[in-house]
Symmetry: C2
Subunit: 490 residues, 2 copies
């Protein structure tokens, strides 16, 4: 099977593009930059949403929904925000079509021109803070802890499925607080939620850190992030949590009366993860044969395949799998039994390997006779014959083992691929080899830009656990207060 497909070594980027399509996760649409998320891909995203949504609710947040469209003038209200977001976006200028005079189809009706153009939301701070103005009068109305699951559009010229698309799905949290400190705590709390989700569910180790000023969200005073390392040695920003200070409250005139009746501007955060996580998940674990999914996010955790010649055999094997179906349901293990008579077992083995199903069970007449079943692991590609009795407990343990094995494997890879660069010559070599490079930086944007120009590496983050130490900048030789993490990135 793998012979037919591009391998990671041959062309990592091509391997990824092929994999997304042959695992039936997503495809390009005819609309430039917009993807179609297919049922199997969407089932993984749904599982991610479900887990994240629960975590948001456990931390006190509620969901709401704000308009898709943002009046053009709103974008201009926060000075740095407009620079970051007003440029590449979808602009609605008309609200009606009419039949073409020549009968060739429909054309835009020039009479139906909007007085003010509407922007399809690239992010919702402006429309949301415009609403919060009416919702907040006193400290009693705070905090507001809202999340929205939505589609957003940022016009992109070069797109890749899940990683960079014009339209994508995401969640955006938007909270309002009475104090600077409370908003900063919220920013940190949500970063922890993201890090925990990435590590515990996606089995993807992440570095928690802070963006440099030049990499901050447009309108934020502080941007925290989680950064993951893909198998090609490139970093991927997997989630961000922003402390917005009073910037949007000032732009939209949102004030509250504190306990003494004094009017103050409200403090804000916003935080989000998107369908980009699908790209991160795929690239963290998959191999040349296909997708590898962590059990906690796999739509199908276990697949059962009967090997048979006669209808009698099939019936007996199906009875055994029926017992398993019941046992798995009780344990909350998602199971699919594939007895489709149109496909041969070999085809099915390959299909579920491509789709990354963590465990494959197979049973033939001899297994039946001996009271056995074959268990194959997707992550290690090992298989073994075990006794049918107690197989459900075995599978339950194995799913946990696979989940932690995937994390450990990715974690070891990241450790191996993280190095320290004492000088710029070694820095350049290490960056080219791929992986995280930890190095001293003088704290200036000028140096950051120079390094990017010369090596394509960017500062992924200033790690939250950065050791305070004096040193000299790997590029300029100027004094540095600590090492930061560089890498080439998605």
């Amino acid at each position: 099977m793998s012979g037919k497909h591009t391998t990671r070594k041959q062309d990592y980027s091509k391997w990824y593009n092929e994999l997304v399509q042959r695992a039936d996760l997503a495809e390009h649409s005819d609309v430039r930059g917009c993807m179609i998320i297919k049922p199997y891909g969407f089932a993984i995203w749904e599982r991610m949403k479900e887990v994240l949504d629960q975590k948001f609710k456990e931390t006190g947040h509620s969901n709401a929904y704000f308009p898709l469209f943002i009046p053009k003038s709103y974008l201009s209200k926060e000075a740095s925000h407009v620079e970051g977001f007003a440029k590449e976006c979808a602009v609605v200028t008309h609200y009606r079509l009419k039949n073409a005079d020549d009968g060739s189809g429909v054309v835009v009706d020039p009479k139906a021109k909007l007085e003010e153009e509407l922007i399809v939301r690239p992010t919702s701070e402006t429309i949301i803070w415009n609403s919060y103005r009416n919702w907040i009068q006193s400290y009693r109305d705070l905090p507001i802890l809202i999340n929205q699951w939505a589609n957003v559009v940022r016009w992109e010229m070069r797109t890749r499925l899940f990683l960079r698309t014009a339209e994508f799905l995401w969640q955006e949290g938007h909270t309002a607080h009475a104090t600077d400190q409370e908003a900063r705590e919220e920013t940190a709390r949500m970063l922890e939620v993201y890090a925990d989700f990435a590590e515990q569910y996606m089995a993807m180790p992440v570095v928690k850190g802070r963006k440099t000023e030049s990499e901050r969200f447009a309108g934020a005073e502080d941007t925290l992030c989680i950064e993951a390392l893909m198998q090609d040695g490139k970093a991927l920003q997997a989630g961000t949590s922003h402390f917005l200070g009073q910037n949007f409250a000032k732009a939209f005139d949102v004030k509250f009366a504190d306990k003494d009746g004094k009017l103050e501007h409200v403090w804000a955060t916003s935080w989000g993860v998107s369908t980009r996580l699908m790209g991160a998940l795929i690239m963290s674990h998959s191999d040349d044969e296909g997708l590898v999914l962590p059990p906690l996010l796999a739509p199908i955790q276990v697949v059962g395949i009967p090997i048979y010649r006669s209808a009698e055999d099939l019936e007996k094997i199906s009875e055994k799998f029926d017992l398993l179906r019941v046992a798995f349901k009780k344990k909350g293990i998602s199971f699919k039994y594939d007895d489709d008579d149109n496909r041969r077992p070999g085809w099915k083995f390959s299909e579920y390997e491509t789709k990354g199903v963590p465990i494959r069970l197979a049973m033939g007449p001899r297994d039946l006779e001996n009271g056995n079943i074959e268990v194959a692991r997707r992550d290690t590609k090992t298989k073994e014959i075990i006794s049918f009795d107690g197989v459900e407990e075995f599978i339950e343990r194995l799913l946990k083992e696979i989940q932690s094995n995937l994390f450990d494997k990715a974690d070891n890879f990241r450790k191996e691929k993280t190095s320290e660069a004492p000088d710029f010559e070694s820095f350049k070599k290490l960056v080219n080899k791929g992986g995280f490079v930890s190095a001293h930086w003088d704290g200036t944007e000028a140096t950051e830009n120079k390094i990017k120009e010369e090596t394509q590496a960017t500062i992924r983050c200033i790690p939250l656990d950065q050791k305070k130490e004096t040193g000299v900048c790997v590029y300029s030789g100027a004094p540095s207060k600590g090492k930061v993490l560089f890498a080439k990135a998605y």
Copy 2:
């Protein structure tokens, strides 16, 4: 409390608008026709989504996601579809803004004009069938059973929260089948899913029927619907399921090879319900005091309120409510304990009444002494003191009773408000009184239009359980094969 608000009798429409806002369900945004669904309103919608999504999955459907934008030319491919949907829609013409030369903000960059305009989806048949063309080759690829949860936009000049908004949230199922019969069965199956949801969860009785040709979905060969009756005697279409024949397969050239290798066009259905259901839910049960929610869709099923003077009392009462919290959690009953010290019990009583919480529990020092608790029902506005022992079983039964009481009440109302009109004089009187009017119709669009012009009543549906009987049309006197259901409608 009710004295301050418009009552249903005074002005039903104003009552509705006020209620949506004071129960904190939704509000208008600054963007014409687009609403903001607030957390409490969204929590009800989330519960609806959860139940419907499970029903879709149980009937074999998977979720997927298709692009927000539809190329203008796609809309023209199905002749009647374009007539129905291409007219009032949001048109994206540009993909970039730039800083205005005079520094006044941002303006549309005329250089960034799209070659072909994009339409914000009003419904997704066209973009989906354009994809299905590549997904379907053989009968083995069928059926395709896909649903999408999405936002859609239909430019509306006169909008009302939930009932008619430019942007709304909905689900749209789009299925592809090898045979006419299978597609018709799917159309009927999904209507049953909707009817079951409306009656079992929304406690809202519905009439299942078929739309007349003039009221069909643009592009459908048959449209089934569920119709509900609101308290003001107007009907509301609560869900539709369309048999699309081969119309979209022909428009987008989607063929499959059958078992004999013969190429045939694919058969299609589509079906949807939207946030309009929120309007139907509100108008079915609510009263002059506020919202009334069926327990199965209420975000908070039971609220507990302590009545106290001293901190000691509060502590003891809170201990009791803590026991209930644990018991309710075990039973899957959603419970909120409101011990907010900033608000008085009277304020809280009124607040949860407005928000339609089905059961309110209150406990004061005397109840504590006597081992009692006060239980108040939102639907009947009755209250009683019961023994604290066994209260959780009592509440569990009561929630079921409230659910069925709401249905029965709405069902009785509907029966009272459904009448038969033997002639046009009585027809006009009955229609004006409000409610469903069952009458003979000659089957022509001309008569349908005349009746609409003269009475504002439309044919809501030809009931699926219509009795086959000959008669004469209430308007034209021409022969009729059976009675249909008329009403003024939302």
